[in-house]
């Protein structure tokens, strides 16, 4: 018989636990970023605290593992599910009532999220934690690797990067509107009452997380271009 790694329900649970972990990480990351809006010094203090210290490295490794699990299972699921649909597709399809667009495009949205993540890792992780790991003292922006505030000004000073980040975050928003709902549903919050609450909770969580990140992008862009102080 089957087990958690191979059964359909087991895979569902793996998606939801890994997704939940990623959402919690995002919420934490977003809160840290908000510090930057109020005080670049405070933000840099956080960057310094994390840096390439052992706890930050352990965190990064666990996070990478979480992304990997979610990513690998997303592909396994999607490939198996396409196979289960059979070789011949319907000639005519119609939208079922109450079925969200996001729920049917989770893999595509996830792929956009991963691509954005790669850009993001190149812009920040490779300029900060990686530089410290390698034992260098300045990054290619000419800044110390713990100067997160400086790095954001470098990146978001370029409006093209701001647009890329905003598209990335928009895809994340769609992914989370279905993802958080689905995750809670999978975990069992599915009584008559909770089904409605959970939809609302998912929209709130997705919006708060994405709006928090977007705010930072916009504020940095305006600051870097001297529009606000």
């Amino acid at each position: 018989m089957s087990n958690i790694f191979t059964s359909s329900i087991g895979k569902k649970l793996i998606m939801s636990i890994s997704g939940c972990f990623l959402v919690l990480f995002l919420a934490f990351h977003m809160c840290m970023n908000l510090a930057l809006v109020f005080s670049p010094e405070a933000y840099n203090a956080i960057c310094e605290f994390l840096g390439a210290n052992w706890y930050a490295l352990v965190g990064t490794a666990i996070l990478a593992a979480g992304v990997l699990v979610h990513f690998v299972y997303a592909f396994i699921l999607t490939i198996q599910n396409r196979k289960a649909r059979g070789n011949i597709r319907y000639a005519v399809t119609a939208k079922e009532e109450g079925v969200s667009w996001a729920s049917k495009n989770m893999l595509v949205l996830g792929i956009i999220v991963i691509l954005g993540l790669l850009v993001h890792l190149k812009d920040f992780w490779a300029q900060m934690q990686l530089v410290e790991i390698l034992g260098h003292h300045t990054n290619s922006y000419g800044l110390t690797p713990t100067d997160g505030a400086g790095a954001t000004l470098e990146v978001f000073g370029n409006p093209i990067y701001c647009v890329v980040y905003i598209v990335w975050l928009a895809a994340l928003w769609f992914h989370l509107t279905h993802g958080v709902w689905s995750m809670l549903h999978t975990m069992g919050f599915n009584s008559k009452l909770w089904m409605k609450r959970v939809k609302c909770i998912a929209n709130i969580v997705a919006t708060l997380v994405v709006a928090g990140f977007m705010l930072v992008v916009v504020v940095c862009c305006l600051r870097a271009n001297g529009i606000i102080g």
Partner: protein, 269 residues
């Protein structure tokens, strides 16, 4: 009403199928969809052609035999009905209607619009029953059952096994069907006893037969002729059910409100 029909024709399971176009004339808006197909078949037989094969039996929405994917919807463009309960007044004069068989790897086409849905029977055979000793019929009121539980069980028992859920689902998942059958039994004291074993066996069979993995899109619920709620789904499949250990299963079945224990872990022990 005069209509153009685009219908999937396929000689047998092995042949390649294709759409063929037919015209039907003077159809009453009050006739049912299947009556309209009967009229077309009559014409085809009269002109010496092979009639279109489609499944049906009770024609009153209870047997689950009728199928058909009509204009992109399982059971056609009306909610909470089966194809046999669909009427031509839902269409407009001059419409083109596309009629396809269920498309799902686990439901192969046998001929034209008829698919093999024995996969659902196999899932039921794997555990969708209650074991009882034969003997005298027990008094129906001997075991008190809370009204709310009885209602939920009856709602889930409304499933007619038509296959629309798997046919609609972008993942080809049979989760709604399995969840309906698991919950309708597990909600009652008689069915609770075997709840975990039943759910494990049915889910394993469902996976084995090549159905896909549920990702909670909810399309099944939208197209289900009996409006089985998708909240019945993964979690309650698990509800009475799929657990990591025997102890957990004991506490689960005896003391807890199942639905909050949600989906799942089940590991063979």
């Amino acid at each position: 009403m005069n209509l153009t029909l685009k219908i999937w024709r396929q000689k047998d399971a092995k042949s390649q199928g294709k759409f063929e176009e037919y015209k039907v004339q003077n159809i009453s808006p009050d006739s049912s969809f299947l009556e309209m197909l009967d009229i077309l078949n009559n014409d085809l037989i009269m002109s010496g052609k092979e009639p279109i094969a489609f499944d049906h039996d009770c024609r009153e929405g209870i047997c689950g035999m009728c199928s058909l994917h009509i204009n992109g919807h399982a059971h056609g463009p009306d909610s909470e009905i089966t194809t046999c309960q669909l009427h031509m007044r839902k269409f407009k004069d001059g419409d083109t209607i596309t009629i396809e068989p269920w498309r799902s790897a686990a439901f192969p086409v046998i001929k034209d619009l008829v698919v093999d849905r024995s996969a659902y029977d196999k899932i039921l055979q794997a555990g969708g029953f209650i074991s009882v000793n034969t003997g005298g019929v027990p008094d129906a009121n001997a075991i008190p059952i809370p009204k709310a539980d009885a209602d939920e069980s009856m709602d889930a028992a409304a499933c007619i096994g038509c296959g629309a859920c798997a046919a609609t689902c972008k993942n080809g998942s049979a989760m709604l069907f399995v969840a309906a059958r698991v919950s309708s039994l597990a909600k009652l004291p008689q069915g609770k006893v075997e709840g975990a074993r039943r759910a494990k066996a049915m889910v394993a069979k469902m996976d084995e037969l090549g159905f896909g993995n549920c990702t909670n899109t909810g399309a099944c619920e939208a197209e289900c002729p009996k409006a089985i709620p998708s909240r019945t789904s993964p979690a309650s499949t698990a509800s009475s059910s799929t657990l990591s250990s025997r102890t957990k299963s004991r506490t689960l079945t005896q003391t807890t409100e199942p639905r909050f224990l949600g989906s799942v872990v089940y590991i063979d022990n």
